[in-house]
Symmetry: C2
Subunit: 452 residues, 2 copies
């Protein structure tokens, strides 16, 4: 008999038996092929623990829909079973009214925890915290500590590290569980404590948290407030997930659009269009200045149409150099390699870079026009002057691209904007518009008296 | 007395005492302000364990230089102290000859482990593995297992999970250390085993490994071969670091350059130039086709210079739409949301997307020309035909951009290339060159008999 048949027959007992030998992940994979009605039946048949395990692997949209369909008592049991950090992450996606309703379903202790965690600002470290960890005191013996771990460790998200606090809940140390196992049981906690610990400040930004976890090979880190009080712990799996979501969002922003909240195929068409169109229109409005800029050189273009032929080549080269520079700087900023005050060091590096790269492209451009002109008359008698114009314009435009691309992230950050979001479009527009002016101005100087 | 003074006086004992109360991270931070000679002195004064901890936080370039300067006996002690996975990651960065020399310095057991790990292909899971983990047998009692953990757990990278294997080293189960603490000590391992485990295949790609860790909240996962033999374990901190390095490399590639091996400021100037110039020249050669394409329309441009004014605006819009599409698809592919066989579903989504977005931009463009023409004579008598040309061209170019941006990653992946590396430049060139042809062809059709 297959599960499909049990579901068709609404055989609750058979479904329960069938599923209870599976892992949450396996059930979630199976769920991806079921409709909401079937999902509801499956969840009603699961134990709260297995239901929570399965739920964790479902896409957010399915989670929300499922919650709405399940009987209140089932939702209450599942929410109570969830670790506090997962619960926060689910609740913050729901409308305020629903959240209050769900909070009232929780046992008092769990409700207080969740209310406290939800009070932290969105996207703050508090929202990632769990309160399921173990604390011991300095004067306890290792035997007492182990008894405590045995009693209360079941709910703890990780027991790899045990935290030592004083009477005022001030964090004194973090001790790997190993240390407890490797010493005689009559030792006190103080004897195995090294009084050194790494803790996150509750005010730390997401980027700081990610970098601290990357630097220190820790599975979990404690979170403290300014007074040194232990507020909760953050585990590496949540930070890993956060980092991955941020990467996705950042890549989409660099790609010139607003970040999607959901996977590409699951984002509804018009939501996707809204997120794409907003940026495209903004970029389009910026790029309109290119038409204005070119308008100033209409006479020159009509005199020397050959100049127009090389325009896309020249401005795209400036854009490419700018995109390289801004990518390098934005990434280095995100990894904490570069601080705001380093702008001058970067500029001193990007000026020779821009000149060098412009020179390389300029020589290729010069060669192209020269070779073509040797075998045809396509660029007329003044081909060398045209080649020289292109050569010089490339140096100017590539230098301008490198400077804009590297300095804009600093300016944006200084102004409090996220460089990753706004740099790409601004660099593109600035490089294109100014690139046109640079190109035609150089052409005016070099070709005055011959073509122009 | 400050450490600077101790170093100046070469007071080995004082330096040792001063540093031994610090953590590896703190020493590494201090090291960043010292020169190589001073670093050498500092490392000679450190215990092997603290030296390894500190070494771990140094930039790769410093690590390499330092190794070359330290006395052989010190290098040997440090290498022997390193966990096998960190050792592999260091050795794989060094020249073959140096590696062999270092391997010979290791105690036999460590050498065998390192030789085995280095035999795995570069960038494979084997290179990330550590062999420092604990295995127990099904028929052991919990008391035996705990004794074993106490005896051998010191070297283990994580004791959060204990692995159960049979006589042939076939993995049977993974059991969280908690489970051992929460049951009577006379229980057997078999009684607490659930015979369910998640394991990585040694052939898994980096992306698969990252995604498995993201799906399952595990701190470490075992690695098995096709026969089910336990080969090693991979811990989440290494995977997290790997994911971050891959993100950096990918962002740099999408930004139009080869990935840097080192932080921006630490990459030597000419290495940086080589990595940037290579792509810029490649893109430049591709973009040269724009000059060729425009050459075909030289007559049309000279007849209607106004067409040239809108060229940058129109092709950049196609490029922006293409960059959005390729970013979305490449990211979804990396996260495993989209498979190769989904290309048709994506295409069916991108065609209406392209038309819709083109329509939006087309209307903005139409409005711009209309409004300008109401208040001036800048676009002449035929302004409405020009507006219509721009409107139609935008739909065509944006649709073409969306299609190219979304389909190229599939084609590249099908051909075995990395979409992240090659998509951006190819999309840019294809959209620009074809965009020019689309624009002028539409102009020819619409403006025939009036301007052209």
């Amino acid at each position: 008999m297959s599960i499909t048949q049990f579901i068709r027959e609404h055989d609750v007992q058979a479904i329960h038996n069938y599923l209870s030998s599976m892992s949450g992940y396996e059930i979630a994979v199976m769920c991806s092929q079921k409709n909401l009605e079937e999902l509801k039946l499956i969840f009603i048949c699961l134990s709260p623990k297995l239901a929570v395990d399965t739920f964790d692997y479902l896409p957010l949209r399915t989670q929300k829909n499922l919650l709405r369909m399940l009987p209140t008592v089932q939702v209450a049991a599942m929410l109570a079973e969830m670790p506090p950090d997962d619960r926060t992450q689910l609740l913050e996606e729901l409308p305020k009214k629903v959240v209050d309703e769900y909070l009232n379903l929780l046992p008092q202790a769990e409700r207080i925890v969740s209310e406290k965690l939800l009070k932290y600002p969105e996207d703050s470290l508090g929202r990632l915290m769990t309160t399921d960890y173990l604390t011991v005191r300095m004067n306890w013996t290792v035997a007492q500590a182990l008894d405590h771990i045995r009693l209360y460790g079941h709910d703890s998200e990780t027991i790899d590290v045990i935290y030592v606090v004083d009477d005022h809940n001030i964090l004194l140390d973090d001790i790997p569980i190993k240390e407890f196992l490797f010493v005689p049981r009559e030792f006190t906690v103080a004897q195995i404590a090294d009084n050194k610990f790494i803790a996150l400040s509750v005010d730390a930004t997401a980027e700081q948290v990610i970098n601290v976890f990357k630097e220190h090979n820790r599975v979990a880190l404690p979170v403290i407030n300014a007074a040194g009080e232990l507020l909760g712990i953050v585990t590496i799996d949540d930070v890993f997930r956060l980092a991955s979501e941020r990467t996705t969002a950042k890549m989409q922003k660099v790609g010139g659009m607003e970040a999607l909240d959901e996977p590409y195929m699951e984002t509804p068409f018009f939501e996707l269009m809204k997120k794409r169109a907003r940026w495209l229109v903004l970029l389009f409005l910026g790029e309109m200045f290119t038409a204005t800029a070119m308008g100033y050189f209409e006479v020159e273009i009509s005199k020397a149409v050959v100049l127009a032929l090389f325009l896309p080549l020249i401005i795209s080269s400036g854009g490419n150099a700018g995109s390289q520079s801004s990518t390098l700087i934005i990434r280095a900023m995100a990894l904490g390699e570069i601080k705001l005050r380093d702008w001058w060091r970067i500029m001193r590096r990007e000026i020779p870079s821009g000149i060098f790269l412009g020179l390389v492209l300029g020589l290729v451009g010069l060669a192209r026009v020269t070779i073509w002109s040797l075998f045809s008359n396509i660029y007329g008698d003044h081909w060398f002057m045209i080649a020289l114009t292109i050569f010089t314009a490339l140096i100017g435009v590539v230098l301008w691209g490198s400077l804009t691309g590297s300095m804009l992230p600093f300016i944006l950050r200084r102004l409090g904007a996220d460089p990753a979001t706004s740099s790409a479009p601004l660099v593109a527009t600035l490089v294109d518009v100014v690139g046109i002016v640079i190109y035609f101005t150089i052409a005016l100087v070099i070709l005055k008296g011959t073509l122009l």
